[in-house]
Amino acid sequence: MTLDTPEKIKAFLLQNPKSTYINEYGEEYTLKNDELTIKSLPYNSWKYVDNIRDRMIKEANKNTDYFDMECVWNRINDSDDYQLDRLDRSAETPLQDFIYTSEFEMYPKPEIIIFLYNCFNRYFYMKGEESLEDIFFGKSQKGIGNQAAKKSRLEAVKHLSMIIQMEKQGIGFNRSEIKRTDLVLAEEVIEMMKLSIDPESLLRKYRRHIKGK
């Protein structure tokens, strides 16, 4: 379905009050108090990529921009050992999906290729006003560090949480009777993962993580 004017979109949303409309550029229209609001979807989100996929499948027979990619994709996915689930959402984000498929020796789905293309193209188009990280992960917050730092810290917290549990239950690698303190375990995690934060702050993050659960 293509709605090309704001009036048409508004009429559609009035008929379907609970739904939203996403156009081909990934702009989402919603109706709030009879006012049309527009929000650009972040590239690295399933909503954005789902929109590309739905359009691809619908426009597969027409000679559009998506046409070639869809044809090529059907050729590869028809082979016996390659049945990728098009709707698989086990990865957190489309970017993670791309990294997983490359680890599993597979070509990514075409909508993932288009998503990557749009991200890099946007980066070149903005001529440095937006960093690649802003485009892939959204605007960065001060003091948090970039996405890679964030992810590695989250992994450290998860790992610490696991070995604290193991220590409490007396399983794992510690064969002596004396239980190690949480602080000692935090030091071990930091050393193992070669992180540059102090054990106290990792422990604080861990406690916050537990509280948040």
Binding site: T64, D65, D68, M69, V72, R75, I76, S79, Y82, L95, F98, I99, S102, E103, E105, M106, Y107, P108, P110, I113, I114, L116, Y117, F120, N121, Y123, F124, Y125, K127, G128, S131, L132, E133, F136, G145, N146, A148, A149, K150, K151, S152, L195
Partner: protein, 185 residues
């Protein structure tokens, strides 16, 4: 693996070493599987686009640009380019915040932006082509116009590829408004 340079995987050195390994038959298991899938993707008529020298000759400065070029001519990028992009993301996560994404893809964060006009003005060449093609006084054929644009802008790609890119660009952007674009020139 953590490499010495953050952007090692996004350089031609990586692509060359990949291609060398491929010709010697020493690719890792997962890489050779990707090659197998790839053979299903490629139509015979498109084989020329996947010759090794095509990647280097189209004026692309890095594998990322090559990725964009392949998409623009409507083709899936070859395994070496896919590996370069996936490995660069892995490198970024592997460095745990020591390097930015720019550094992992383009070396330094400023290099890709300022002085690299071919990077920032991907659309310019197509708009220039559009104006050249619609020049009332000359009435050039598509091929002649493409040749003129390539020599004028000193592009390093061949006519066939450029035309393919241009046609897709036009299809994507819909009807171009000549008067709007002419203001730029």
């Amino acid at each position: 693996m953590k490499s010495s340079k953050p952007n090692y995987y996004s350089t031609w050195d990586f692509i060359k070493s990949y291609n060398e390994k491929k010709s010697k038959g020493t690719l890792h298991k997962h890489e050779s599987l990707l090659e197998k899938d790839f053979s299903l993707l490629v139509k015979n008529s498109d084989k020329d686009y996947y010759k090794e020298d095509f990647i280097f000759q189209q004026g692309n400065k890095s594998p990322v640009e090559s990725f964009l070029t392949y998409f623009e001519i409507g083709l899936y990028p070859p395994p070496s380019i896919m590996a370069a992009i996936a490995e660069s993301f892995n490198e970024y996560y592997f460095r745990k915040g020591d390097s930015t994404l720019e550094e992992c893809f383009f070396g330094s964060s400023t290099k890709a932006v300022g002085n690299n006009s071919s990077l920032s003005d991907r659309e310019f060449k197509f708009q220039y082509m559009f104006v050249t093609l619609n020049d009332e006084t000359e009435k050039l054929t598509q091929i002649d116009a493409a040749e003129k644009v390539i020599t004028k802008l000193k592009l390093e790609c061949d006519v066939d590829t450029f035309l393919r890119q241009y046609r897709r660009y036009k299809k994507k952007t819909g009807r171009l408004d000549i008067s709007e674009i002419k203001k730029k020139f």
